[in-house]
């Protein structure tokens, strides 16, 4: 019997006896950047962790909080690995002067990156083991005989020593130790517990300092004057139009970028409104009404995710051929707060306080725009409004820096609602066409999936300022889209964008990386130039593709006259997708049924239930969602009444934070499924405020949400913030079908579209 077990009972446990829960796969971490040096060496323990003379554990992370709960979860992680209470941990987020370069906080990668066996988690484990080694020497005891309670190490002899006495405010001077062991899930005392978000009291009482409230001495105020339409260029800026305005300091023009700086925020607003700018018009826009047809006719960059090269023959031979086309509109991040940034640019360097998800990349772009050496720029993350991806936070930071350089003073730049919405990098519009063959005994024999994605720009990364509006106006171009045919698929199946349906075998060169059993398979994607900027919006392309894939799977179920759960299970191999599907079916008391025989010609309000599932990004989290909806057959109004979700994200760091993300994700997904759609006329985006871009406000009947967590042993932690939203539109669409027998293949499910689908169904019934 080792002493560790007994010690564990009375304290945080033995310092050294620990187990890796799983053969953890390498996290999908950020590639270390060779040409973008950070002064913070991520291989060194001191870059991640310090213990002060006061015993406070300070941790440095490159993954920042914007409402998703990662601040609290990372604090739990440090407290867990270091065996201290949460209150002893101080977490510093994303500051290029002090935190390691972890790229962008995005893509549901913070948990896999920092909570498995690398980076922050490894740093904390390395530190604990180093402290144990130091304590063993000081106490003259075996490491295995030590235990620890809230930063106080005790030996068998009963002698104690505190962390700060071992290392207090000194450097560890150690590399991260790849062999350092994480505390096992069975030992967890802080992780895995529902900890309410640590910022909640400050938030609810209005004491939390958002970036929007941040002030520096001598700060003045900026506003931008954006073009009236995409592609418009400056013809003339009439500075005389504002020369007598009080408080105006400068009109700043840099190619097509126009901005004003004034003493007060209101003066800047007035100056931006009064400034007369003549613009050369941009090109006219493709008509919204026929946009998806337009998209399908453009030159494209093609990628084949998988191609068994027998799909056409198999489809021709199949008993039943099913085909359908799905469309997904442009949607907005639509942060509640229009973006804001504060920049202080001096001759020899710049500091930018930014709500960007990408502190280091933003530093590189700011350096480029200001012609400063990158190591003379510091970007400090400060929280803004929730972003859900690439909102205006990057653009406003670049613009603030340009304005501050122009006036030689710190500038706070606040976007207007229109600046934010008209010029953000929208979630992409997509078309997906499916064709599949079903055998007489109800098996999918072949499946072809072809998609079109509208794309322009992206995150700016370290070297693409033109990927967002600020850079483009300053004269940079978006990263090029090179049209060309697809190369044959090679290597491991990559399914980051959930292009490949879960039911594909996903075989490339004999290795089958898909989640399912359909071996005659092809998935082709055409990326087409978008007339508007696009960029990652929560579950980027994953939600679009999953909507099409999972609704079409539901169509196949109906054609095969099979139960949607049973039919999915029949075509799945992946155990974790199967796990969540079964869990959702069980939690919802799913009753097997064939959903293709709803009587037409009914009236009034009918109800239905649909299901959808996904392996997010192929392997970064699993969800199955059951949606209950009602549909008013007369008005076409869809009302979700309840959701039951089963989620598998491996070990759960904070069940309360997870629940919050899952609930918010489903309701956000509901808003995107029911009302959200960017509109434009022949010249410009028309969705520029909350009347012209619809979102659910707080006045709808909030459906009940039940979450079930599936937690298999021996798997690494995955992302969890984007899994539930990914399946929401599909689950609702499948429930509408169950309720009405009508398939709505265009998002959002507006009453008009639902009514149109109902009448199409009636006509089809009459003519058959």
């Amino acid at each position: 019997m080792t002493p560790s077990r007994r010690d564990f009972l009375k304290g945080c446990g033995a310092l050294m006896v620990s187990f890796n829960a799983a053969p953890m796969t390498t996290a999908l971490g950020q590639r270390r950047s060779r040409n973008r040096p950070s002064s913070i060496d991520a291989d060194k323990l001191d870059s991640w962790l310090a213990i002060g003379a006061d015993g406070v554990v300070t941790a440095y992370t490159g993954k920042c909080e914007f409402g998703q709960g990662i601040f609290t979860a990372q604090t739990q992680l440090i407290a867990e690995e270091l065996c201290v209470s949460i209150t002893r941990v101080k977490l510093i987020e994303c500051d290029t002067a002090v935190t390691p370069d972890q790229g962008t906080t995005s893509g549901s990668q913070s948990t896999p990156t920092n909570f498995n066996v690398e980076n922050l988690a490894l740093a904390a484990a390395t530190a604990r083991e180093a402290l144990a080694g130091l304590a063993a020497r000081r106490l003259g005891e075996e490491i295995d005989h030590l235990s620890v309670e809230d930063g106080v190490i005790q030996g068998r002899s009963g002698r104690k020593i505190r962390y700060e006495d071992l290392i207090g405010s000194k450097h560890f001077d150690l590399p991260l130790n790849p062999a350092a062991k994480r505390r096992s899930r069975a030992q967890w005392r802080v992780l895995g517990k529902p900890v309410l978000s640590l910022d909640r009291a400050a938030l609810m009482t209005g004491q939390f300092e958002f970036l929007h409230h941040f002030h520096v001495d001598g700060m003045v105020h900026g506003r931008v004057v954006r073009p009236p339409e995409m592609g418009a260029t400056v013809a003339h800026v009439d500075e005389q139009s504002v020369h007598d305005l009080p408080g105006l300091m400068k009109v700043v023009v840099r190619k097509d970028f126009v901005g004003v700086v004034a003493q007060t925020q209101y003066q800047a607003v007035v100056a931006a409104r009064k400034l007369v700018v003549r613009w050369n018009p941009g090109p006219s826009l493709p008509a919204q009404k026929t946009f998806f047809e337009h998209l399908q006719g453009q030159p494209a960059h093609d990628v084949l995710s998988v191609d068994s090269r027998d799909v056409e023959a198999q489809l021709a031979a199949a008993g039943t051929l099913v085909q359908a086309r799905y469309t997904y509109p442009y949607q907005m991040h639509g942060s509640v707060g229009a973006s804001c940034a504060v920049a202080d640019v001096k001759a020899d360097g710049a500091t930018v306080w930014s709500a960007t998800q990408s502190a280091y990349p933003t530093r590189s772009i700011v350096a480029e725009l200001l012609s400063l050496p990158v190591d003379r720029v510091r970007v400090i993350y400060k929280r803004g409004s929730g972003c859900y991806g690439l909102n205006g936070a990057d653009a406003v930071s670049f613009d603030a820096a340009v304005l501050s350089q122009a006036v030689g003073k710190p500038v706070r730049l606040q976007f207007s609602r229109r600046d934010e919405m008209m010029w953000e990098n929208l979630g992409s519009a997509c078309v997906v066409e499916h064709r599949a063959g079903i055998t007489p005994d109800g098996r999918i024999v072949a499946w072809d999936r072809e998609g079109w994605v509208a794309s322009l720009g992206n995150r700016p990364g370290y070297d693409q300022p033109g990927n967002v509006i600020s850079g483009m106006l300053a004269g940079y171009t978006p990263e090029p889209l090179e049209p060309g045919p697809a190369k044959p698929p090679a290597g491991k199946l990559r399914n980051q964008s959930n292009i490949v349906p879960s039911y594909f075998a996903g075989c490339i060169g004999g290795a089958c990386g898909g989640g399912g059993t359909v071996r005659s398979e092809r998935a082709l994607t055409h990326t087409v130039r978008s007339p508007f900027f696009t960029g990652p919006l929560r579950s980027p392309l994953r939600i679009q593709n999953t909507f099409a894939n999972e609704c079409f799977m539901d169509e196949l179920c109906a054609h095969a006259k099979a139960d949607p759960v049973a039919f999915r299970l029949k075509h799945l191999r992946d155990s974790r997708t199967i796990g969540v599907l079964k869990a959702a079916a069980e939690a919802s008391k799913w009753r097997a049924r064939v959903a293709s025989t709803r009587p037409a010609g009914r009236a009034g309000v009918v109800s239905g239930r649909g299901i959808a599932c996904v392996a997010y990004e192929g392997e970064n989290g699993y969800a199955a969602l059951v949606a209950d909806v009602t549909v008013d057959l007369d008005t076409g109004l869809v009302q979700p009444k309840g959701f039951i979700v089963a989620l598998d994200c491996g070990p759960i760091s904070n069940p309360d934070g997870l629940r919050n993300q899952v609930e918010g994700g489903i309701l956000q997904g509901m808003s995107r499924a029911l009302v959200e759609e960017v509109t434009w006329d022949d010249r410009r985006i028309m969705s520029v405020d909350w009347e012209s871009y619809r979102s659910l406000h707080l006045d709808y009947e909030i459906p009940a949400i039940e979450s079930v967590f599936v937690t298999p042993e021996g798997v690494p932690a995955t992302g969890a913030g984007e899994t539930a939203i990914t399946v929401t539109p599909a689950a609702i669409g499948n429930a509408i079908f169950d309720a009405t027998g009508a398939r709505v293949r265009e998002l959002p499910f507006t009453p008009e579209r639902v009514k149109a689908a109902l009448s199409r169904m009636k006509e089809a019934a009459l003519s058959s």
Partner: protein, 191 residues
């Protein structure tokens, strides 16, 4: 050379779109006025253009963090403050129109150490994600429930019609609001 149709931005956008604060009009007189405001139980003097939206004064001059700029159009609620017992959108309220009325912001309602019961309910329910929208959610619900303590769910929803939370922490928010409503009813029965 192709025919460049040069247009003024204002012509392309139309007059309506120019007006971020439609009800204010744009009268720039350029003068600064001394205004005394009653905020969160104290009095504060500011020297500003009288047309300045109350929100800018609260944020920039007085350093208050409760109300936030969301849209500048009274469409989202992020800038909400309490004024004359009503929930008011400070982004479209000229500071000169406030007069001697008492302004209460989210931080004037209670503190982290001593939160107001509705703030306490939000804390207990963890009813936020980013939290940017909270002034609108909490103050609008408080004002409504104080005036309509017997309100049912549907009526509460109706009161929150113009309030936006894009993290969609809605389920928790409604739970917190109900909790406050129930506690209030309970208290009034007890007293």
């Amino acid at each position: 050379m192709e025919s460049h149709i040069s247009r003024k931005t204002s012509e392309m956008w139309g007059t309506q779109d120019w007006l971020m604060f439609p009800q204010l009009g744009i009268e720039v007189r350029g003068h600064v006025m001394k205004i005394r405001l009653k905020v969160n139980g104290g009095e504060q003097d500011v020297e500003v253009d009288p047309q300045t939206p109350l929100l800018f004064v609260l944020n920039d001059e007085l350093g208050l963090r409760g109300p936030r700029f969301g849209c500048g159009l009274a469409q989202c609620g992020a800038c909400t403050v309490m004024l004359r017992g009503q929930a008011v959108r400070s982004c479209v309220t000229p500071v000169s129109s406030v007069g001697q009325a008492e302004i209460t912001t989210l931080e004037g309602l209670g503190t982290a150490e001593k939160p107001h019961p509705i703030q306490q309910a939000f804390i207990e329910e963890g009813a936020a994600q980013c939290g940017f929208c909270l002034s609108g959610v909490i103050l609008t619900a408080k004002v409504f429930l104080d005036a309509n303590p017997e309100a049912n769910d549907q009526e509460i929803r109706g009161a929150l019609k113009g309030i936006l939370c894009r993290c969609f922490a809605h389920a928790r928010m409604l739970r917190a609001i109900r909790k406050y409503a129930e506690a209030k009813r309970h208290d009034s029965v007890a007293s």
